[in-house]
């Protein structure tokens, strides 16, 4: 059974092997001693080797560890992390469809609501922060720094 490090090592090893296989399709120039696959193969081989060492060290550490002596871990709110990632991913994918202004307003409102406790939601503050963030960033970047922010394919704004 693998631990956290072992799983991480396994993912790195599988990724390196897959990319190593992909380097086989790279051309080899006849006139120069090394081609485009030379350096990637070195890096990927080293990565694969380090990943194997990590898997081995994890297996050894798990064998040495006495049962029942795991250190207590602090409680973490992974549900909130997952929700934040989901809201952010939705924002990223809606950005080219709704445009910067609408998508940002919705995102700031949604994330504030997700991060605030249900009983302590201050709607005026939530809406003020969302409007201010959207307008100020839009004004500064488009008006002053000449950065053209995303326009929505669906909305045209």
């Amino acid at each position: 059974m693998l631990g956290r490090d072992g799983i991480a090592g396994l993912i790195c090893f599988a990724g390196s092997l897959w990319l190593l296989v992909l380097t086989r399709g790279l051309p080899h120039p006849p006139m120069v001693p090394i081609g485009p696959g030379f350096y990637p193969r070195i890096v990927l081989s080293i990565t694969a080797m380090l990943a194997v060492l990590l898997i081995a060290s994890d297996a050894l550490a798990r064998r040495r560890r006495r049962p029942g002596v795991d250190a207590p871990t602090a409680r973490r709110n992974y549900r909130l992390v997952g929700l934040t990632f989901a809201i952010f991913a939705a924002y990223v994918f809606l950005l080219p469809l709704l445009g910067y202004r609408i998508a940002t307003f919705i995102f700031v409102v949604a994330l504030q609501l997700a991060l605030q406790p249900a009983g302590e939601r201050h709607w005026v503050r939530v809406l003020t922060v969302a409007v201010a963030t959207t307008l100020v960033t839009h004004l500064v970047f488009e008006g002053y720094l000449f950065v053209l922010l995303s326009r929505g394919r669906w909305t045209g704004v």
Binding site: L50, L54, F85, P117, V129, T137
Partner: protein, 509 residues
Amino acid sequence: MFELLGAGLLNVIQLKYLLPLFVGTLAGVVGGALPGVTITMTIILVLPFTFGLDPLQGLAAMTGVYVGGSAGGLITACLIGIPGTPSAIATTFDGFPMARKGQPGRAVWLGTWSSFWGGMLGGIFLIGATGPLAAFALEFGPWEYFSLFIFALSMVAGLTEASLLKGLLSGAIGLVITLIGTDPIMAVPRLTMGSEFLQGGFQFLPILIGIFAFAQIMTDIEKMGPAGSAEVHAVAAPSLKVSHLKVIGEILSRPFLLLWSTWIGILIGVLPAIGGSAANIMAYDQAKKFSRHPERFGTGTPEGIIASESSNNANVGGSLVTIMAFGIPGDAVTAVMLGAMIIHGIQPGPLFISQNPGLAYGLFAAYILAHPLMVLIIAAGAQLFIRVVSVPKAVLIPVVLVLCVIGAYALNNIIENVYVLLLFGVLGYALVKAGFPLAPLILGVILGDQIEVNLVRAIMTDSNPWLFLTRPISGTLIALSVASVILALWQHHRAQARMAQLPEQDVEF
């Protein structure tokens, strides 16, 4: 040199440069004062605002953030006992007890003026040493550069606290990321899986923002209660009135402590891999060892504050020397600074100072001027910054994430960079949860292309691989790389037993 510096100072005191420098320093002080917002994060957030500026304006703003951020951490360290940045950890040891004894003004101003003097002395080193070191680096061929980059990478990977293997693997993952795109020999698409977007490779900035910002933000969110409680409460602002002459006198009456702490800060800044977070602890430790009254440390002694704060601002000068002379970053903060320079079209390295003297001395001038600005900003707003700490994370996090999206998007005005941001945000968080340090990964991403180019150049020039070992400078650097890994192995072996007994701790980025 002095003529160029004078011209740089005259240039930077123009409003068009002074304003970004001031705003950058202000952002740095506020970001540094906010616990949980590191200097790295502040630089990332300020960077998009500099896209529309000319290179010197942008560099002035970034230098201001770096200098301001290194000092800003002391405000919360002294007044509420929470270091705003890791480089102010040791300031908490004596700054907070001094404030609790009813001398908050003395604590804050001892720290501020120590930062000022440490930073200015670091500036002398920066201005004096960059040119000669860059001239030395001009002797380097591709073998030496390759070995230097390997040395930097091995130092960063080896000095990570978690695990040497994970540090090395993290650096290797950074190198793997740079493999994707067009290869530098035949310009053929490599590992792009048919994607047109990937042919240009991943841009540095979205990777950086994704990895650092998400790792930081998501670990903060993890600690929020099930209801996402707003955990920071308003803090009563104490009076910070103090006799500045008296405080400056207190610092300058300890010249050995000031100079020694400054030197430690500079030295740690110059060395790859060790940053301000180590500098302040080491300077504090040295100050305690040299003190006639070591028992007073931790009870509110001025020596503790002077040592910590003078070293962390001197560290900025030392780090900038390494970036400007060799083009290699020392730690995560300087990696971001280097990335910022590259985005502004500046390639730091040995030729930078000779090819762009106006820009180089403009940066020196900005560094010097950032220090009095930092003092003025703290004088005007220290009490206000304490109130900023009370901004709930539920408000701060969405705003920070919006700025991250703009930063990634505005780089080329393409939405794909925002997808890259999300991808690397997930990867960064996953790596942190798996206990991987992020600094080696970022260094790998920054140095990857240069490592490949120099390796290829070296082999194209002479296919004898032994030249990497037989050329004196290259051989020395390779030997140092091996030594740093062996040293790290030894240190990890020693620490293993101790670490096995410790409970899960927060991850250092």
